[in-house]
Symmetry: C2
Subunit: 340 residues, 2 copies
Amino acid sequence: MAVGIKDLAREAGLSVATVSKALNEYADVSEETRQRVREIARLLNYQPNVTARGLQSRRTNMVGLVIPTMEPHLSDDPYFLDLLAGIADEAAEHEFALLLTRCAPGPKERTCYQKIVRGRRVDGLIVVRTRSQDQRVAYLLEEGFPFVTFGRTDQGLDFPFVDVDGTQGVYDATRYLIGLGHRRIGFIAAPEGLMFGFHRQEGFRKAMEEAGLAMEPGLLARGDLTLQSGDVAMGQLLDRDPPPTAVVACNDLMALGAMRAARKRGLWVGRDLAVVGFDDTHVAAHSRPSLTTVSQPIYDIGILLCRMLLQTLQGKPLEVRQILLRPALVIRESSGGTIS
Amino acid sequence: MAVGIKDLAREAGLSVATVSKALNEYADVSEETRQRVREIARLLNYQPNVTARGLQSRRTNMVGLVIPTMEPHLSDDPYFLDLLAGIADEAAEHEFALLLTRCAPGPKERTCYQKIVRGRRVDGLIVVRTRSQDQRVAYLLEEGFPFVTFGRTDQGLDFPFVDVDGTQGVYDATRYLIGLGHRRIGFIAAPEGLMFGFHRQEGFRKAMEEAGLAMEPGLLARGDLTLQSGDVAMGQLLDRDPPPTAVVACNDLMALGAMRAARKRGLWVGRDLAVVGFDDTHVAAHSRPSLTTVSQPIYDIGILLCRMLLQTLQGKPLEVRQILLRPALVIRESSGGTIS
DNA sequence: CTGTTAGCGCGTTCAC
DNA sequence: GTGAACGCGCTAACAG
């Protein structure tokens, strides 16, 4: 069933080499031969064996992505899907495919990357959700393996990345809340070690500090990015006396959880409590009340990441190796209006 | 930098063949040699080149999935992400990776599959969102290429699949609405040609028929699975005189759109209008009002699909080739209570 | 212009 | 118990 290049050769009465050249646009093949070979290839529905071609060319025409989440269900992070879509689309545009794996952060992670890198499973990697002292980045750099990341790190290393300025995003959001009259503002942080969580928290700190507002430890809670954890964290914040009148969550999901916690206590989000999230996932727009959040163009970031990686793989140096995008505050109902 | 098997051979003072055997658990290698080779491999961080190995073994250790959506942004279908997670997890469990591509249904689709199949890019494929007279299934069968599908087709062909009984699901949902006292029930259908849409609509027809309720053409609208289309479709239904008191949407997203349309007209969903969706995506649980919907275990389906495919690839025949799962009605707020 | 030869990196017969 | 030789399907160098 499988038709190889030697089938074409036999059919055309030519050598395998000539067929290969004819197919690959070599100059030293008569136009007539080329046409004939092409026709036969078309008829026999020939498709070159990518593995064999890969062995020869030392390229797989694949980019890899390892999803670094702990829990199996990913749907809690609708975030990833758009990123995948962007990457896959851009890859397809260049006749590349996307190799997807999942591996929780931890000791097994290194092995996972080693298999991919040393085994040459893909030509390049996209690393997402960078962490403090990210070993993945260090490893890839050490191996000299092509990669780009979504997110910066704190290792003082130089590598290509795309990131969203979370500090600026949360800063804008917090300033907005302050502008509405809020003084006691809570913050629901991400798990420690995640760079994006750190940056976002920095934005909060900065905005509060500038406004001369103390950042009470009691108004800082930490979640694990899930809705449930946002609920729990908000419960803790509301236990304070006095409780905050507004809260900024590190992502939309925790913001939704915070809204749920508030509701359970009889608070009306958007009036008694202002809530702001981050990501602008579609749940944000369609929740009730709709969620004020900081928006980042995930799909386009996927496109961008993939494009940067592919360009690197082609040997073309990147004109811009490091891109920091400014996110936009999207004001909806959950943040309410001016408070007295 | 890249260490190959011949590096190990040189280091160990052995031939490449012996090293290969030592590494692959062959019997005819002295235990001592085996240990020594292993140690060296560990030290040098040896990982076999998967491409070379693939050429030899004719296996890629990859399963493929082509996402068949029209629009680039996938996040509207949170559905896919859990499926991907399930597949990727199960694949990883067996040292397989997932090759992800995207290709809109249409003429280019065949080429896309041909490249994968004839080019032997993966060992097997998972086909999702089956369609009426699905050419993908026909093609794969014709090629004798291993695959499993998520969804049945209407071609009378025999192949392994997992599906959710959408007919039963919508039937249950509709019966529930009828039980609440609803008589004028609208239905927001999926685009034609999608098998799951057809099955779900059948469930609606059946329930209505059994209850002796006419299925007015005017109470049937069609969307394209997006929230916006649900909004529009609901608008059409509400223009009828008299309008429906309840509506079943083919998926959660359109159900949310329907809720939005109702709200725009001053209707209180859960009181003035009952809305039921399908999928039980996380947005369903967290919308307001929360959405009554039909739940299917997407992540587990991903696991199941992948497991079936891998077993087939191992040459083991499947004990159960065709699985039909019964979904569960999850009652929340949007369907309201008994109406007078 | 075309064909012959030689690998790509690994696994797998066979002799030894 | 070990190694030489061959082949997987294709491309690249060099002859002819």
